[in-house]
Symmetry: C2
Subunit: 246 residues, 2 copies
């Protein structure tokens, strides 16, 4: 790592959300020789936009491009830099000794969250500091490094709020999906259950769905209809917002 070309004291952390088996998942890195997990992150080259560096992180971990990605907060408290953190990391072999000075800086970190289609992430790839890169359920998180649990929580809160202004399914669901699947996504993000019939009514009123004449077969019950998003209308809705409130 060439630290001379990096923007000092600035990092990026990405909360990468996926949806699988009716659960919200987050892509996390398992640190080497440590039972803590970390958000995928990175640093910012001096001549690169911060946003594009976040895209790069995402690409490296998921292999995916052109993904829904939002910056949501700059975490800038002093106490997020634990004293002795870099020592520990060096000792455990997580970071090489020659980089200790770099990691000794006080860092602020830009938080990004991404929404990705679970099945499209073929092989999540760990970085140099980690031994694994895995999906973890949002409601059953492992112990997290530094303030990464806080960052994750704030990302989820932000997502929850943004649901009032914009739809989110296009980024998290496969091309075709059923209404119950879409509802499960909303229920998971919002952490509450919704009435089946009212959900369908409201969602259809957004006028961003296209009903196909296909059905999801194979379940032990009545085969539900498959829907897909009308991408043009969907994007228009994202842009103009789902006007509620004023």
């Amino acid at each position: 790592m060439q630290t001379e070309n990096l923007h000092p004291g600035l990092s990026i952390d990405c909360v990468i959300f996926g949806f699988h088996e009716n659960e919200l998942k987050v892509l996390l890195l398992k640190l080497k020789n440590d039972d803590k997990w970390a958000l995928p992150g990175g640093f910012v080259e001096k001549d690169k936009d911060v946003d594009s560096e976040a895209v790069r992180v995402l690409k490296k971990r998921t292999g995916l491009d052109h993904i829904f990605l939002n910056q949501f907060h700059l975490f800038g408290n002093v106490n997020r830099n634990e004293a002795g953190h870099s020592d520990t990391m060096v000792k455990k072999g997580v970071i090489p000794p020659e980089l200790k000075a770099w990691f000794d800086q006080r860092f602020v970190t830009a938080g990004y969250y991404a929404l990705v289609e679970y099945s499209r992430v073929k092989k999540p790839t760990p970085d140099l500091t980690s031994e694994r890169c895995d999906w973890r359920a949002l409601n059953d998180l492992p112990p997290m490094m530094l303030d990464h649990a806080d960052i994750l929580k704030k990302a989820h809160q932000t997502l929850k709020k943004e649901l009032n202004d914009q739809p989110i399914g296009l980024n998290l669901l496969p091309e075709h999906f059923t209404m119950p699947e879409l509802q499960a996504l909303y229920e998971t993000v919002l952490e509450k259950s919704l009435d089946r019939r009212n959900f369908r009514r409201k969602m259809l009123s957004y006028d961003i769905l296209i009903q196909t004449d296909l059905r999801r077969k194979g379940g032990a019950h009545k085969a539900p209809l498959l829907y897909k998003f009308d991408k043009e209308k969907y994007n228009k809705a994202i842009q103009s917002g789902l006007q509620s409130g004023w």
Copy 2:
């Protein structure tokens, strides 16, 4: 200025909103020997939280403490650092030559917006780089330094959105105010006009206002009733949100 103790490559810019004569105003600094204006800003000491440094900037410019202040975005594009900007600033005497190296860095800046009561800001004080500190109307802005116009625009957009989740008057209006004044504030922020009767109905339904038996005399017309906020309920509303949407 002791640049050794500052977090490198990181600045803060504050968009300070006030409301006066039915207009949204922003507190801006007029640069020395330059017709450009700038957002009040500053740098972050290595051992201070970014948020608290924003509070400090606000206090320095407005003299005010305990103010509504929100971080809304990190501006991290490379091209926001104009080549030759520091040269120009030194030439115009805006910054002393010995600080040129510091200002030559590539900076990312954390954007904060503040809501303050116009009349409480007695004497807006310029900083070393500026000759004046004045309120300027949001819809009649002077030429702005670097990307400060963008930052301001994003702050306004954010404010507009947050209006759906929270009330804002407590921070921008004096202790007592009339319903038409509150409406004017909303209309200004939202940039559209609202129906008088419907506005009143909706605002009262939030249950955060207390009607007093005083009236604003002196206008050439029927004297409107004065209201004040029920601070306890107001803060509860801020916390829990004005549930709309899901």
